[in-house]
Symmetry: D2
Subunit: 415 residues, 4 copies
């Protein structure tokens, strides 16, 4: 055992890796406080607490961050309509800064100089964790064992971890390991690594856990009504049985249940600051429903030119969150601006959820910018058709001038 080095708060998952890290940190001379965030993953938290204490943790904090995760992080992504690279709803990327904030909070409370995590040295999660920690508590020191040669050389593979576990009385999982890794939270589950690293392979049968196969999903849709205020859902009603949910966390959990038959993403690519390309499979049931519902009510209530600007800000938001910059001045700024754009995003969207699809059926809003009378082909209203002629002519002036010049140049070149 090394000489005492002070206290470290470890982001503990209950799994093999962080259990080994817990013991190893103790070996290095640290007093270890284990922090296990309940962010909606399937986990036996009581069991995990016992395990951490058994492994020598000085203290264990199991804290439920689900509500703040939904209200502060997921809702911001819903407002943004965030999709990284047009496909990834950012499920993991949103969870990291939420967990890290609590981690740093505990470190402060416990007067610990260190925090530690079990993220690998190649992926994005290490970046997301650590940038969050440093941004919120510049003096903190982060220990990332998977980047320390004394750790990763000692544990070049799972075999060595298992041996270490056995030697130190760390319980090893009894079920055989899936040939891929998973990360789960209330919003999504991701599957990565292992056999999924081959880009030619489809998702193996039995992989999906949060959604069912469209081929076997029920043939009748669920009909939902989602009410939004300021761009976030405030009420969900199931038109079938009249069930309703209003509180953010409950509402989100309910949507996850309903959406069980919903969208599942195939293997696809994302990018890592460390690596050019990255492969993963993601399931984001409630997030997918909300994405479509929000898009619809936003288009219904937001001025089109405001929306174009907001779209640019949302692209930036996705990129920042993906790259770990949630806790940064620029992300704070972008969230503020997007929030402002949502002030009038209000109303109710009716939709059908069926076999992996969300179909918007209709919508209504007191803030709608849609003017049925103006639109109607059968009602002239205030609209003066001759105005369109002027509009087109003015817009064509530039194009005509351009053509005139091009012709002049082309004629010259032909001579």
């Amino acid at each position: 055992m090394s000489e005492p080095k002070g206290t470290v708060v470890l982001a503990y998952s209950g799994g093999l890796d962080t259990s080994c890290i817990l013991v190893w940190l103790k070996e290095q001379g640290y007093a270890v406080v284990a922090f296990l965030a309940n962010i909606g993953q399937k986990e036996d938290f009581a069991e995990a607490r016992k395990k951490a204490l058994a492994l020598g943790a000085k203290k264990v904090f199991v804290e439920d961050v689900r509500r703040e995760f939904v209200e502060e992080f997921v809702w911001a992504a819903v407002q943004a309509g965030a999709l990284y690279e047009e496909r990834y709803p950012l499920g993991t990327a949103l969870a990291r800064p939420c967990i890290a904030r609590r981690l740093v909070g505990i470190a402060r409370r416990e007067r610990a100089a260190y925090v530690a995590h079990g993220a690998t040295g190649k992926g994005n999660d290490q970046v997301r964790f650590e940038l969050s920690c440093y941004a919120l508590c510049p003096g903190i020191q982060v220990i990332a064992p998977w980047r320390l040669p004394e750790f990763y050389r000692r544990f070049p593979g799972r075999r060595e971890l298992m041996d270490y576990a056995e030697k130190h009385g760390i319980p090893v999982p009894v079920t055989p390991q899936t040939p891929w890794s998973m990360d789960e939270n209330l919003m999504h589950i991701s599957y990565e690594a292992g056999i999924l690293e081959n880009p030619k392979n489809p998702a193996p049968p039995g992989l999906y856990t949060k959604t069912c196969d469209p081929a076997t999903a029920p043939d009748t849709p669920d009909i939902l009504e989602i009410e939004f205020k300021q761009g976030v859902p405030v009420k969900v009603t199931n038109a079938g049985d009249g069930a309703a949910r209003q509180e953010a966390l409950e509402l989100f959990v309910y949507l996850n249940e309903i959406a069980f038959g919903l969208i599942r993403f195939s293997l696809f690519f994302c990018f890592s600051p460390c690596l050019e390309k990255w492969l993963g499979i993601y399931e984001t049931p409630a997030g997918t429903i909300l994405y479509h519902a929000h898009l619809d009510i936003e288009a219904f209530t937001m001025d089109r030119e405001v929306r174009k600007i907001k779209q640019g800000l949302a692209l930036k938001f996705s990129e920042l969150v993906y790259n770990g910059f949630w806790h940064s001045p620029e992300c704070e700024f972008v969230r503020h601006c997007i929030g402002r754009s949502q002030e009038a995003v209000q109303g109710t969207v009716r939709l059908a959820v069926l076999k992996g699809h969300v179909y918007v059926l209709g919508r209504a809003s007191p803030r709608s910018l849609y003017n049925e009378e103006l639109v109607s082909m059968n009602v002239q209203g205030d609209y003066e058709p001759a105005d369109a002629t002027g509009f087109i002519n003015i817009n064509s002036l530039r194009l005509k001038e351009y053509h005139r010049l091009q012709s002049k140049v082309t004629v010259k070149q032909d001579e």
Copy 2:
């Protein structure tokens, strides 16, 4: 009959509106040349030709523009991954500049000083048509009857059109009119107006024509392999029966057939330069498959930073096409830049088409930027974990400084 005014080339659809316009233009003293573009819509072209001649057209041109539509317009949209407002694949917006180009070509050949069309005075299509005409042939004069008071006051409703038709021997449709209007081409069909103008209403049963209901679609997927070169599909193979298509038009038609069970968009909003909001339902079967397949192969082969820039250009492309500026210097510029970005977008995507969804199963490419070894959690390769520490630290410097300053300011404010 008015005094002779010269020749007008009319974009003729064979339907009631443009038939009435044809006769009306003759009444005004124009010699009318009818041009009917075959752009993939369901139509009895021989019958339409006869009808136009019977109504007094001086000449009738029925021209097949399907190949150039696919190769020049649809392929550019596939390369761009174009989606206007994140939902609309631009089916109608892409067809207009293609038809208008041919229209102007015929006007030139026939030495006509005028072209005419039957687009309404409220929508986008008038803008798309006319900007194209003026950009390609600045001297042309466009007659848009639905914007001329002498026309639209004479025909305030369908009733008056029917009366006029009867009086002038214009055959009226025998099937009852759908309570909405449709616009079809090889890429898509749109349903708009009429009962669809109420934002609360879902799509009425029986509306869809190019796709089938996921609830009743087959339970087994079609498996396709699509090969891309320079960002456009060059071969489609059906893994089921081995059927293959390579020529652009055939390939696209084939995908439309396969995709019959595919995605259908619910009613949603788009925007018009004339009107703030617009409602429509769209079906884009082959276009939807290609959108997903292209997105996947692009992410597989394109550098992530190039892709971010390309994404910005594609947003611009969608906006320009939507607003009628296909034939403009800026759209030409953007198409060129996007084309350049596609040089290495090459490879084969394997996908399943099932109940309205496209699932990417895998992909392979000689130009892939994905390095399985570098990505692998189990292979260290050239990758040095300590580098990630430096990367994170450098990125956190700015965040720490910001925090330092914020604290200083906050402390001061607290004092």
Copy 3:
């Protein structure tokens, strides 16, 4: 005299054009209320009032909008650092929505159904005026005589205006007209049209009125200190004589005086929605000083990533203002976001104003993000040089992979 048509509020300048318009409007049967905005132009307002009454105006309002112009419009442009097309500080474009707002306010007060202005039918000002009016008061009707055939055909040139003036007792200017037109306000003066329309010509001698020739300007600089809060100047001190100004309008007027020797723009191009290119000469003395001072204090206090986003928003702001969309949901949104970015833009900039140039000498701020110790080559501080190695290596991974692939492809092509 035509039959009575109700009341029109005319944006009256006191010059020949709007005087003729006033009389002409009366001829058409309107009761004319003249509104003359004092927005900082050189004008004998008492004389103009008398003139308008003499010409038959029912009422005349001379209103001083200089303070709101500076505080609401100019300050927003300073915060944005707005430069249209990288050159034009938007002097005229900012004044139009300010004047139009008051114009509409008077129309409301006077229960007038019409407003009128004397802007030409080719330029941007008509657009800026009218979009502002319609946005603020959708029911208002705008009369733009220079777009009405009955007006512009009657007055094809200045000659006819002069004749009309003579006939109706409208005083004509005694000084010979400059062979160009001018538009002046507190922020700038523009020279356009006439002999300036030839792109080969330099500015004629004697044209400039708000700035002096650098060749003859004093050889000693003025030294100023400008203090900013939330991105707007709150105090200017002249280091030479200790003179200080704090109130917005006084401060701005003072800077205009000091800047007399300052920047003058040569003839250059802007764009009009109506015309592809436009030529003008602009002088913006105080605006130029503030542009440079604000840029400096902003760079000193704003996070660099926030600034990049803000730069994009400022580009949009300039475009919107230039095109007449100040009073629009999107410009409101953009102003809000830019305003938010300015919260920490605080501090004092010291600068020298000399012969058409502004030289920043130094700056200080309680909100500076500049850390002298961190920057210093001689102080290592917390900075760990090895981190830069990791940073560079991680960033180079992608470039190396790209090179690897390019080589592979090239080799193949060579074979």
Copy 4:
């Protein structure tokens, strides 16, 4: 002396730092090849060669990269109109990838596994150098002594370097060192560090070397005509004495001479990937003239909508070059796109250079999009004023609808 480690090519400047590095590398066991790029800095190259050989360099290459610097790097910046953070013309940032490319070329020729440079561990230049090296030659290994503890701990200050020099026969500069550091190339000179690190201080007297004080500059302007083709200057004519230059390098050198009286930037801020803020003074004489001339001819010949897109790409270009990504797929892509935009940027700009200012006097081009007749207030041409009414009305529809809704909401809230 350590054991032999192979050959390193050192980017040698002839100064104290890289001379010490040369000797130190030899001490470590490397065979050192010195490479001294002539990129336009003031230097006695023959003397430097002798010195390097005397210090034990195995070989010395003095290579003139000025022509490629101008033709490939500076011209691309001129086409882009590149200004980082609206102020910095990127003089140093453009030189680094040019020097690095040659450095790597020599390493290849000499079969050296290493390259080394003397850039500090805090600035951007290390990043620019190394990313270039790795992108062009992924296998190369970079030695950056100022980031190696064994080096920087040995030389914590200038004193220690001087001692080392004395001990190893390295000639030390006889002139007293300026209390700041400089970096010079054909395009610009920068002054940084030392006493310049205090943001409150103005540039000390006597600092500037490439420009003269406006207060004492001649009172008569130089009049130049610059001809552009495809966005780059192809001929400069001095209207005073008729002198002309056409070849790229000669032309650029000539402009530097003429521009001696020209713009000098005060101390201002840039950003480093490593540090939030950075202070420097820059002189870029010829670059400043070309920036203004190019901006003018571009605005004269480029469609305004193309230009907006190009502006976005140019912002990206500046950011990439500033951050060291010249040799990257995205910068290559952006350069290609910008190059495409320049095809019609052709013509001649006439300008006056006077006391630190560039005044554009006029311009002419066979590709001008400016239509004097269309613009003229006195010529109606094809322009129909009523079209502007339609244009304004259509644009105001959206604003009116927005107002209508806002009022409705406000009224409700007031109730």
